[in-house]
Symmetry: C2
Subunit: 337 residues, 2 copies
DNA sequence: CTGTTAGCGCCTTCAA
DNA sequence: TTGAAGGCGCTAACAG
């Protein structure tokens, strides 16, 4: 059974011509007698010849592959971003190696190594929540391999990246809550070392400031976003002397978790407490009540990241030149707040 | 800036020893003087040496890579299956190249070609809804490259595959509807050429039969599962002389769509019409009312598929031997039915 | 314990 | 229009 894959050599032998001629015919080089070319192409097709991309990569010193590393592959965010990246990668003649780190720092490091070992021409990355050390990425810089970060980016490396305006998105949603009459707006924030958590928190504070509402520390809670912690934080918030009348969570899954918990306690949304999230997950429109949130142009982010990367691959003087692409968010008002 | 990646040759030159010795030290071969080995390892580490997997694959005739092709990457099903496959692939020393066909036949064909060109050691596949011709897969068979299908499998190829017991799952959920007093249970089925649609439809019919309920053709509707068609079918069903009091949809997204439509018409669920789905998507528990459905061991499917594939890669006599792994489903009763 | 040689499949000079 | 030779980075076989 076990048969080998056909090679150029095989075709050459079969047709009694030199390997170079076969190669030329296959790569569409003009200087090949047309009948020779026809014979080669015909045989290649019949035998289902497939160029060996491994050896091609070896000799061309370019695998025509771009790697993408995401912290998670479940949920509605990253798959969509990936599909955006996939789209442009394909159009530009690259294919994607997708890998995910499962929010685990060590796995992220391993993944970068694998990508490097596979000689990807470039890398698109969204880091894990754990990642605080970026040496595995600077290794790419040292070797001149371009990397583009998106969504979760690292500030210490000033690499090219594409992000949404988290500050502005948070500002808009808090402003909305205020304008619908909320006075005590609590905020559940993400880990402090994540840029996007901070940006959103800043946007939140800025909105309060604009409307002369003093921000109170007891209403701002930092969380690792585990269900357990969210429940704990929510309980603390509710048992405050003067509990919040609105709650802005750093992302939709957290907001959804909050809604479930609130409902189970018999607290009405949005009458008693308004709830808002961030990122417009696919679930958000189906939950009851539908979640007010901020929409991100997720697919676009993937596309832009891939476009930037391809540019850098083609023109190495662009690689690792700090360049931040900021995309806009859009407020989506539903019934939860 | 642009610096080359370090090679074995480089460190051989640097250390004034032969390439083979370096190679041996790097691959942990015993017969290397320990101080030589130390020197090599130390230098390799310092210079961030990464074996070139392209050339390794070339010489070993195995890329240590397994490809996975799924019809879509958005939604909760495939990402979870992928994570399962990823897990065991990694454990077994393989890495995954993930690609998705976006439910497009031609893209699936292209993807298989790319996989083959990249010399994957094996392939895990779930086909698109469009796929009716399987020659791009038999090409793998001809070349002796193992393929394992999962979820959406092809019956014409009798290849190894892992599926859930769709028949039994549908049977269980319809039986549940009957035992809760429903008499006229409609079914929205998927495309007829998809095995899983048929299996579920058969399970549905069998359950009716068991309880001596005649199945009526007007209650069974085949659909391409576009939102538009679902709405149309639902309208027809509702305007029947004697409309259904329960509706079993071939999958959760369809059931969720139905719930939204029903609610918008002011029809109460489950009082007026019970709704049930299949596959327990992540949204299903959040929708109002929470969806009664059948849970599939999705992650397990990914794991099992990968395990079967690795086995076949290791022992080529197993490759393409028809072997069907059937996993069990679990009834999940929520409020919708 | 170490070095030499050959070759994986392909492309790219250079020469005919 | 074609062929021969060399090399991409690595391992394997065969000597020392």
């Amino acid at each position: 059974m076990k048969r080998h894959q056909i090679t150029i050599m095989d075709i050459a032998r079969e047709l009694q011509i030199s390997k170079s001629t076969v190669s030329r015919a296959l790569t569409g080089h003009p200087s090949v007698k047309s009948e020779t070319r026809k014979a080669v192409l015909e045989l290649a097709h019949r035998e289902e010849y497939q160029k060996n991309l491994l050896s091609l990569g070896l000799v061309k010193q370019s695998s025509k592959t771009i790697g993408i590393i995401v912290p998670e592959i479940i949920g509605s965010y990253f798959p969509i971003a990936i599909s955006g990246a996939q789209e442009v990668a394909k159009k530009e003649g690259y294919h994607l190696i997708i890998s995910y780190s499962d929010e685990d720092y060590q796995m992220e490091v391993d993944n970068t190594k694998i990508m490097m070992a596979n000689r990807v021409d470039g890398l698109i990355v969204s880091i894990t929540r754990q990642t605080k050390d970026f040496d595995h990425f600077s290794a790419f810089k040292r070797k001149g391999i371009p990397v583009v970060f998106f969504n979760r980016v690292c500030d210490q490396l000033d690499a090219p990246c594409v992000i949404v305006d988290d500050y502005d998105g948070a500002f808009k949603i808090v402003e909305h809550l205020i304008s619908s009459g909320r006075k005590r707006i609590a905020h559940i924030s993400g880990p402090d070392h994540l840029l996007i958590s901070n940006k959103r928190k800043e946007g939140y504070k800025a909105a309060l400031r604009k409307y002369d509402i003093a921000h109170e520390d007891e209403l701002i809670r930092t969380s690792d976003l585990t269900m357990h912690q969210i429940a704990k934080i929510l309980d603390e918030l509710l048992s405050l002397a003067s509990p919040p009348d609105a709650l802005f969570a750093v992302n939709d899954p957290t907001a959804i978790e909050v809604i479930q918990l609130l409902k189970s306690k018999g607290i009405r949304i949005p009458e008693d407490v308004a709830v808002a999230g961030f990122s417009n997950n696919s679930m958000s429109q189906y939950i009851d009540p539908p979640l007010t949130t901020v929409n991100q142009p997720v697919k676009k982010m993937g596309q832009v990241a891939a476009e930037m990367l391809v540019q850098q691959i083609r023109n190495e003087s662009l690689a690792w030149k700090p360049f931040v692409q900021v995309l806009n968010t859009e407020l989506i008002v539903r019934h939860s707040g």
